[in-house]
Symmetry: D2
């Protein structure tokens, strides 16, 4: 199969560079170009590197960053992966879709649009087909978003619980990593040895995005899920990896063992279709008393392309009718670029591209 040409938008940022990481030697996709704003004109990826733990190939590091150019991208690429900051992404993504490009974006601009899905292949793979109702779809253009990083990390566990036991209430507190704020993001004097109990708009996003994702798409319309979500979001001095505490009221009262069993048995579409970036085990249950931890579990998912693509849960406890769980996911891989790459892999397998 000839590889599909893709553009990376926002290539100077944390998410853009995670896109590049996930697309080096990808079996379906080939990077046509790295795009960013005019500020980075003339620089190479090497000059603007922000990802700490991945070692890019020399030729990738030497790639020049190009200034964003919708017509060039539309001409050369079937797909654009967008890591553009949310406050800027909207119009560019719309324009690309209008020009026939399939946009897989991490930006929040279009997430709550009436005809745009927030897609997580393990959670709501059928939402994929909502793109057929987008006006631009007839000429090949569309927009598919992934959820914000704090919602992604818990969407699959919540979906499994809902499907198995019912789900009524979720009280959530987050311990979110610094990379979620992008670069330069949080000043070090506010981050070192500190916790910031505020991330603008994040709590509202979690509450609305989870409801949309875990809802249904029927007759050209998204119906929001009915369970209630109460989120408290905070930033902690961790580089990568969002940890979240969940206190949940389910529709029934299973034992802790039944919950573990439901998580461990779960396989989603990416696993069934064997998508290249799919983690073999999408939800990993740790049995130790003190896990999951960002330091040790952030890269859970596999040794290759699916590194960092699993969600890890642990400390599953029951008190009265409530269940307490900690969940962790890599916010710029699973909860960022990796989510969109998996979405694109699903779209290819399902014949949308």
């Amino acid at each position: 199969m000839e590889k599909i040409k893709v553009a990376i938008l926002g290539a100077t940022g944390m998410i853009g560079q995670r896109f590049i990481e996930m697309l080096e030697d990808h079996p379906y996709f080939e990077m046509e170009g790295l795009y960013a704003s005019e500020r980075s004109e003339g620089k190479s990826l090497r000059d603007v590197l922000k990802v700490r733990d991945y070692v890019y190939k020399e030729e990738t590091l030497d790639t020049k960053i190009e200034v964003m150019d919708v017509s060039k991208i539309a001409k050369n690429c079937r797909i654009a992966f967008s890591g553009i900051p949310s406050d800027l992404a909207g119009p560019t993504e719309t324009e690309l879709a209008e020009n026939g490009v399939g946009v897989f974006t991490n930006a929040g601009s279009h997430r709550m649009d009436a005809d745009v899905p927030i897609l997580i292949p393990e959670v709501n793979p059928d939402h994929l087909f909502s793109v057929k109702d987008q006006k631009t779809f007839s000429n090949g253009g569309f927009i598919i978003t992934n959820a914000n990083c704090s919602s992604t990390g818990i969407a699959a566990p919540l979906a499994v619980l809902r499907d198995t036991f019912g789900l009524e209430e979720a009280f959530i507190s987050t311990y979110q990593a610094l990379s979620g704020a992008g670069y330069p993001g949080v000043p070090s004097l506010d981050a070192v040895g500190n916790v910031i109990p505020y991330i603008g708009g994040e709590e509202e996003k979690m509450e609305s995005e989870l409801a949309k994702m875990l809802g249904t798409y029927e007759n050209g319309k998204f119906n929001f899920a009915k369970f209630r979500t109460f989120a408290n979001c905070a930033r902690v001095p961790v580089v990568d990896g969002h940890l979240e505490s969940l206190t949940l009221k389910l529709g029934s009262e299973p034992s802790v063992e039944e919950i573990i069993d439901a998580f461990e048995k779960f396989k989603g579409e990416p696993q069934l279709l064997d998508l290249p970036s799919a983690p073999p085990q999408p939800i990993i249950v740790r049995k130790e008393a003190n896990r999951p931890q960002p330091a040790y579990d952030v890269f859970a998912g596999g040794t290759g392309r699916s590194k960092g693509m699993a969600v890890t849960v642990g400390r599953i406890r029951k008190k009265e009718e409530y269940y307490k769980i900690f969940a962790l996911s890599h916010n710029t891989l699973r909860g960022g670029a990796g989510g969109s790459v998996l979405n694109a892999e699903l779209a290819v397998k399902k014949g949308l591209i």
Copy 2:
């Protein structure tokens, strides 16, 4: 007034050294000796210093640590402040009480004893008198505990809400500081850039201690409060200062402004009695979007003796019938040594000593 002679137990630890900090030049108390285990024999405070931000007087730093000796302490001291680790404190504290010493302890050993109060002067000052029912009280000995550090930081706000609006459910997640684990405590390879979602026994302690403290003492018996608590406890890479997210169901549905008003108007016994370590404002409400933060609010309380003795709350939000609040307190001052010093000041003013 002649100052009351006091012993500091566990003087080589974080809590012990906070006791020393709070008792330098204290108007009621005079340190008779610094005591610890045999391992520190012959060392001075200077040799075992662990508190980062306080500058002790030269003469205090030069004080020799003595090996714990109950009979010496009982002979010379009316009071012992105990910062002994909880797993070792129990028998020594009992023996001291039997020998006529008033023990104010930060250790957990006796907290759930049937005749021992968990005292926070702003929350349950009347529990003080439960000590009269302790067997050793007739010869002057007794034990008064302060709550564990994560309970202390939220007890006063919860008590104010209960008294003003009623309190039914509290969903709590903690962001607890490293100093709460003592020294050497958490290995740095587990702490730097990480969150550990487990603190042994902490969630159970929060749930039971809050119920005892916010309950009543009547006819020689503690009646536990009835509201329900669901705690998730985690350790973050912060040196001092426990932050906690609260999602609360109250007995009625006040506005956010009414809650702020209740917090700001609140004065407890320490404020009314003008105790030396009492913060003028026991609960400080921050109005900024992103507070309280350990870095900026941990020392809230006053410029002198009451530094670090206030609780700071912020981000008070209402969603449906639930209220979301972040609360912060200094875990080794307000939530540790400072709590016991305030308890002792109350006992003096109330004539128990």
Copy 3:
């Protein structure tokens, strides 16, 4: 004595707020106003707080920040303490001096001017009088700088060694705190778990400023000291406190004990004159194997006004003809605002104001 009215310039920054800390209840000075750029108009100190460890008085926190106004300052204040960023400070400070204000500044703009001293009262108190040769001195205006934070921390130890044993070569590596970069300064993604081996212009500044400070002022001219300095500067994830390693070639070969003795015996002008912010012991020698450390020694100096004003040295070793020493100082107190306050105290005592 009536207190001297002073203005604080750059009151929204780290250094500006350390000035405020050091001038609350100062026996010589009274803050007339807090000044900053137009961006902070209408805000109070409380709104822009950046210092973590100091608890300001309520009335100070409530003080409104005013927009910088040279004529107002010149009319109302005898002195201006400047924490303006170095790239902006120059013209404003010049204008203030021309209008008869005595400027004590932490900014680097004027440090290498031919008629402006870099003053450290323990090191070169006689340089104070060089201001008499400034053109503006006749109408009361002048500029006195303190050294940059990395030079200040080692100037006194180097001066003592030079005076006692001679000084030929200094190989220096720095471990500098984040607060030295101001706010917002270093992005947290570059700071957490990292070291940045570059601080723009810092190595050159250290090399030239030390030579000027340790040189002489004679016949209206600064003669630079002749010893050679080779500096390597790096930023580490510490909030406050610059640590530096020194490998020194002296003019003779004293024993380590003789060096300790020289440091411990040393008293400078601030000690002899008993200046309010003078640490009783300007150079503290730690004998432990693993000190000085920012966490434990950054506030060395005293329990009151001189907290953080001493330099701490330790690990003094000799290998062949070289001496190895670690030195630490608080970069925004001793190495920042505190340095200028001490300079102003000296100027008052010496009758220049």
Copy 4:
């Protein structure tokens, strides 16, 4: 070729687990067993995991840790890779060599032995053959050490400079990572936001090991190199990656460009022999103003097996006759387990095994 069976000693520690990482799927070696002390009996690698950034294969994680057993190892393994703590390693390693096992060790116990080489294949590959003079060599047993982590990171750059320009004096200050102290190592209360200017014995080790490594082996005897080294060692809150500042006096005065050129042209034995773990470019020169940094350069070396095996240098400056350079290497890969694996690869290629 049949793979050579190897034992991993100290498999519960940081270095032991880096050995495992480097030996998964190794083309020459096959892990026969993971060994540690009795404390870990019955545990699997999964239970004692300490490496943060590497994702082991499931089957490796499930491997049981065995209690150290010299006779079993001697029977089954040709090679033992030792990550035993230095204070315990000596006798076990000797016993293994006496039983015919080739020991490649990261422990310091035997480094200064008269007949044991400290081997870095890029620096002193000929020292390999010194093992032929070890008493145990006749029956196949021998001991080869790698240098301590802080020496390894600068040995190759120093060797290149010596060979090209001569080398006379090296003034070194280190910024060493927490993982260098092993686990549990440094308490977090001493690490977070702090620098510890002391690592027991480290400065002496650097000074003696560099002299031995950069010396010659002739007529059964190591002759130490003559250049002088002055080291200051400090621990910084970084997880992995030792940064070091070097101020060097060479035998001549090349331009900075000539030095860069010498580094970039350098290839050692591992590169010429194309050893599996050899980084293509053993010394990488960064041209940016602010590199190398642990966060961004610690994994330099390649995308596969040689990840983290290069040394990165940068900020090469000349002042008068001295050269200033910052160097960085991964202390538990290049400076730990990776060094010994590379040594073993060299021994295989050179026919010693």
